[in-house]
């Protein structure tokens, strides 16, 4: 189960989420700012996954200078898409 969200524009990021049965949250990050902000980006991504109850997922993130709220949003959308799309109550 794979979902993708975001794009390669400046101030955005591209996230690929692969849902797993186990293994926890694994984050593969590509960013020019990894040395400076890698820890913060990973924390934002992990927080977002947990906020929507996803404890086992591989997140491949390409980051292009975006703020935390964008990382969180893109991670959530990618996970929801991997699980079959957002629910329309």
């Amino acid at each position: 189960m794979v979902g993708i969200a975001g794009n390669e524009n400046a101030q955005d990021c591209l996230v690929k989420a692969t849902i797993k049965e186990d293994g926890g949250i694994k984050i593969e990050l590509k960013s020019k700012l990894e040395k400076l902000f890698g820890k913060q980006i990973r924390l934002a991504a992990e927080t977002a996954a947990l906020e929507i109850g996803q404890e086992n997922v591989v997140l491949e993130i390409q980051e292009f200078g975006c703020l935390d709220f964008v990382i969180k949003a893109r991670v959530k959308t990618a996970i929801k898409r991997a699980k079959g799309g957002a629910k329309h109550e």
């Binding site: 975006c66 703020l67 949003a73 959530k76 799309g85």
Partner: protein, 291 residues
């Protein structure tokens, strides 16, 4: 009626950088758009971006509205549920044609407020009047719920439904715009004028904004940051207007203290409607707290 709603600047909710850039232009209100500005394939991602932005960016001083998708689409209800849970307190309802449309949204909002321990009635509604039917029902729409704080006119869909072209003279809109203003004023809510789509024609935009003020609109929708300062200039009272209004208010206060009835200021009779108009001008100028 107390909030300044001179400008409502539309901002597509699908672009991350727009969440940061838009408040820089200091509109009175921002309308984050989940409807027309967002492609069908990105409705979910725009909603997620908006919810995260609302939770992390300080928009204080700017009133935030969200234009949700119509409730009859697969996205509308989820839009309302998610953005209200994220903290949005003003929903713009598109294509509003009757009081029943408002009632449907009101019922949904009441349910969401109860489920999430949000104060009942705290989420407000702006109804977009965009069809001939909506124009004819604009008063019943404006009075359909205590949640309604404004009605706005949308000329693009309106002219499409009317089967005519939108012209720069806007003759085809004159009755509808006036009707929306009258309905809003009679219901004591704000009336917001339509957008001006030709962003290169600033002269035409200014002319339409001046006309909007003349016929009684409270403000105008904007789709480009450059339009914001022009609308603020047009809708903010001049120094002379403010000075004259302050004189009237002071004279009225003095007359009240002395127990006098009708008074004169600069040789002109001043009664209650004149005083109310002066108070409105001072309020628009943001001076009411100083007096």
């Amino acid at each position: 009626m107390n909030k300044l709603r001179r400008t409502m600047l539309f901002c597509p909710a699908s672009e991350p950088k727009m969440f940061i850039n838009t408040p820089v232009y200091k509109p009175d209100c921002i309308i984050f758009d989940l409807e027309d500005a967002v492609a069908l394939s990105e409705k979910d991602s725009a909603r997620d971006l908006l919810c995260e932005a609302i939770n992390s960016i300080d928009y204080s001083g700017i009133e935030i509205f969200v234009r949700v998708n119509p409730l009859y689409t697969p996205f509308g209800e989820t839009d309302v549920r998610e953005v209200v849970k994220a903290g949005v307190r003003n929903i713009r309802l598109p294509m509003c044609e009757s009081k029943e449309d408002v009632k449907k949204l009101e019922e949904l909002l009441e349910q969401i407020e109860k489920e999430n321990n949000i104060e009942l009635g705290s989420v407000k509604i702006q109804c977009a009047i965009e069809t001939p039917k909506g124009v004819m029902n604009s008063y019943e729409i404006a009075t359909s719920s205590l949640r309604v704080v404004a009605i706005s006119f949308g000329a693009e869909d309106f002219t499409r439904e009317l089967g005519v072209d939108r012209t720069k003279e806007a003759t085809e809109l004159s009755f509808a715009r006036s009707q929306v203003v009258l309905s809003a004023k009679a219901a004591s809510v704000d009336a917001i004028d339509t957008v001006w789509a030709d962003i290169k024609d600033m002269e035409g935009f200014i002319k339409e904004a001046q006309n909007a003020k003349t016929i009684g609109f409270s403000g105008k929708s904007c789709i480009h940051p450059a339009q914001v300062k022009e609308v603020h200039r047009i809708f903010t009272p001049s120094k002379e207007e403010v000075e004259k209004s302050i004189q009237i208010i002071d004279a009225a206060k003095e007359a009240e203290e002395k127990g006098l009835g009708v008074i004169q200021v600069n040789g002109k009779m001043v009664d209650v409607p004149v005083i109310k108009k002066a108070e409105r001008i001072v309020s628009l100028a943001g001076l009411e707290k100083v007096l």
